[in-house]
């Protein structure tokens, strides 16, 4: 029987290659032609950057079962590394500086992963929290990281790839989309490789994984490095393509929690989950703002909005996790199956 290479059919990517192709045609062909600046700047670019960060964290938390609260720190490392690389090596093309920034973040992740060889669960989460605070401290205290700008604010360089400028909203969207597409492909290859299976084996039962010969320490460190690589590049996109001007406070613990929520809401251990969760997190505030303005008129100021946002988000997370602990990805799967049954 030829069963070996045919892994169990698991829905890593939405509805197979056909749906994915349609999605790419939409994202590359139709959206850039019809979209408005508002769509690119307020929705799609932050969505892509957050989805990528979620994807990275999902490699670590969803697949390998290692909880991290330091995602924003790795985003910051990626963003500030890309900034420094483009500042100090002016000839370096943008793709190269993004890639190198990813490697710098991966190194940071490797260092942050060392405690994972001894710590587990809750204790590991606390040690990643230390990374979060250390990076915030370093960004504020070490001047050259932000080129000695006051309070660590950096401004992103122009986005130019091979002589073409991508500095308008549509161009920044296209750069983000390309980076996210490529890295999603790489992540998909990783999780469907034997190494990806080893990640799940360690998550499901570390001792049993050890007992079948999985190199647990090496695999855990690899999970940290790969995850931080992806999150670092997401941070660079967040800074270069979305915000354009970044301060260290933009990468605080709130951001880490946001990424963690994206992964939990979307679905741990699925690649689609990061995209679903990021979509949810980006669209929800806008929906609430519209809804609030329609219902309450002028009384709905930004302070109220932020408060309502937090309350609604918290309630939704609780409700969703009670209804479906495996997140939106599983909810969608179930809805799809129900539709299929009804059609049949």
């Amino acid at each position: 029987m030829d069963a070996l290479p045919r892994a169990a059919p698991r829905p890593h990517l939405p509805a197979g290659a056909l749906g994915l192709g349609a999605l790419l045609v939409l994202a590359y062909g139709i959206v850039p032609l019809t979209g408005t600046s508002y769509l690119f700047e307020a929705l799609l670019t932050p969505f892509l950057a957050l989805a990528l960060a979620g994807l990275g964290l999902n490699l670590l938390t969803g697949y390998a079962g290692l909880l991290s609260l330091g995602s924003a720190a790795f985003m910051a490392v990626g963003a500030y590394a890309a900034f420094n690389l483009s500042l100090r090596l002016p000839g370096l093309p943008l793709p190269a500086s993004l890639l190198l920034a990813g490697f710098v973040a991966a190194l940071a992740g490797l260092a942050a992963g060392l405690p994972a060889l001894r710590l587990r669960g809750f204790y590991l989460a606390v040690s990643t929290l230390a990374v979060q605070f250390f990076v915030a401290w370093a960004l504020n205290r070490i001047g050259w990281i932000s080129d000695d700008s006051p309070s660590g604010v950096i401004t992103a360089p122009r986005l130019v790839v091979a002589g073409l400028s991508f500095d308008d909203p549509r161009g920044r969207y296209l750069v983000s989309l390309t980076v996210v597409t490529l890295l999603t492909l790489v992540a998909w290859r990783l999780v469907s490789s034997p190494t990806g299976r080893n990640l799940v084996a360690i998550r499901d039962n570390e001792t049993a994984a050890r007992l079948v010969g999985v190199k647990v320490a090496r695999t855990k460190l690899l999970a940290f490095a790969a995850s931080s690589f992806v999150i670092g590049i997401a941070g660079a996109l967040w800074a270069f393509a979305y915000l354009r001007t970044v301060e260290p406070a933009g990468f605080n613990l709130d951001r880490s929690f946001q990424i963690l929520f994206i992964v939990i809401i979307g679905g741990l251990g699925t690649l689609r989950g990061a995209f679903l969760g990021a979509g949810f997190i980006v669209v929800l505030p806008l929906l609430l703002a519209r809804l609030g303005a329609a219902l309450l008129g002028d009384g709905f100021d930004s302070g109220t909005l932020e408060m309502v946002q937090r309350i609604v988000l918290g309630a939704l997370i609780v409700a969703l996790l009670i209804r479906e602990p495996a997140g939106l990805a599983a909810l969608l799967d179930r809805a799809g199956r129900r539709l299929g049954r009804r059609a049949a």
Partner: protein, 266 residues
């Protein structure tokens, strides 16, 4: 049978957990190539700890070998990493059938092959072999292991270990919590592998009657010490073993002859 070389030698082994709890104090054990050795004893006698020490799993569980030595295939392996032991053919199956719940049966099995470093064609051949031994797994190869019944999970865990092409297979309580019919099937497969391929087995088992029926030799652990060792037949015949382990404490079903047991509901 003394002609066969000793595959695993445990000498005066002492193990401490967390720097304070003495789990083993002086265990001696020898497993010759090609034989089935049963490790019997009451709860807390140290069976699981000994097997963990053999696979060098103790450091991850805050345990430590403080004295004595472990030799596998003539080499001291007291400090050899678990994955290196697996590649050398010493493969273990944990107590309580630990599968990777999120992976399919087949992925679980493949993990066992890849852990050994098998190539693609080896893995494919070994998969067919395991499916041949446990046909129930073949029917459920695409099912997530977490959704299997207890017996099937135990088969998957044993199959996963067999994918590592072990020379010495170490099993911790393979009968625990399983229906007698499933236990029979598992022991039949294991004893068959021992007879047909000379697979050496070290099995910790609380069901002493079952263990002594299949094993060639047995070692009795008591309070972290090896109290008795000998051939299974001689231990079966001993009065003290009879009264301690084979007496009235046995439930009537386990004491029934195998013919009756096979008819029992699984």
């Amino acid at each position: 049978m003394s002609a066969a070389p000793t595959l695993l030698q445990v000498e005066a082994l002492e193990v401490v957990y967390g720097g304070a709890v003495h789990a083993l104090h002086g265990v001696d054990l020898a497993v010759r190539a090609g034989e089935i050795v049963a490790l019997v004893g009451a709860n807390g006698a140290g069976k699981t700890t000994l097997l963990r020490a053999v696979s060098n799993l103790l450091p991850a569980l805050r345990g430590q070998v403080t004295a004595g030595r472990l030799a596998y295939d003539g080499r001291d392996v007291t400090r050899t990493r678990t994955d290196a032991l697996v590649r050398a053919g010493l493969v273990g199956v944990l107590e309580g059938r630990h599968c990777f719940r999120g992976l399919s049966v087949q992925e679980n099995l493949v993990a066992g092959g890849l852990g050994r470093g098998s190539g693609r064609s080896d893995v494919r051949a070994d998969l067919e072999r395991v499916y041949g031994l446990f046909p129930r797994l073949a029917a459920k190869r695409e099912v997530a292991a977490g959704l299997l019944s207890g017996g099937e999970q135990q088969m998957a865990a044993i199959g996963r270990a067999l994918m590592g092409r072990p020379r010495l297979l170490v099993l911790d309580e393979p009968s625990m919590g399983l229906a007698p019919r499933v236990v029979e099937e598992i022991y039949r497969v294991l004893a068959g592998l021992n007879r047909a391929e000379g697979l050496t087995l070290l099995v910790a088992e609380q069901n002493v009657r079952l263990a002594l029926r299949h094993a060639h030799h047995a070692v009795v652990l008591e309070n972290g010490r090896s109290a008795l060792a000998g051939s299974a037949a001689s231990l079966r015949a001993r009065d003290d073993v009879r009264s301690l382990y084979l007496g009235g404490a046995e439930c009537p079903e386990a004491a029934a002859p195998p013919e009756a047991r096979r008819r029992a509901p699984a």
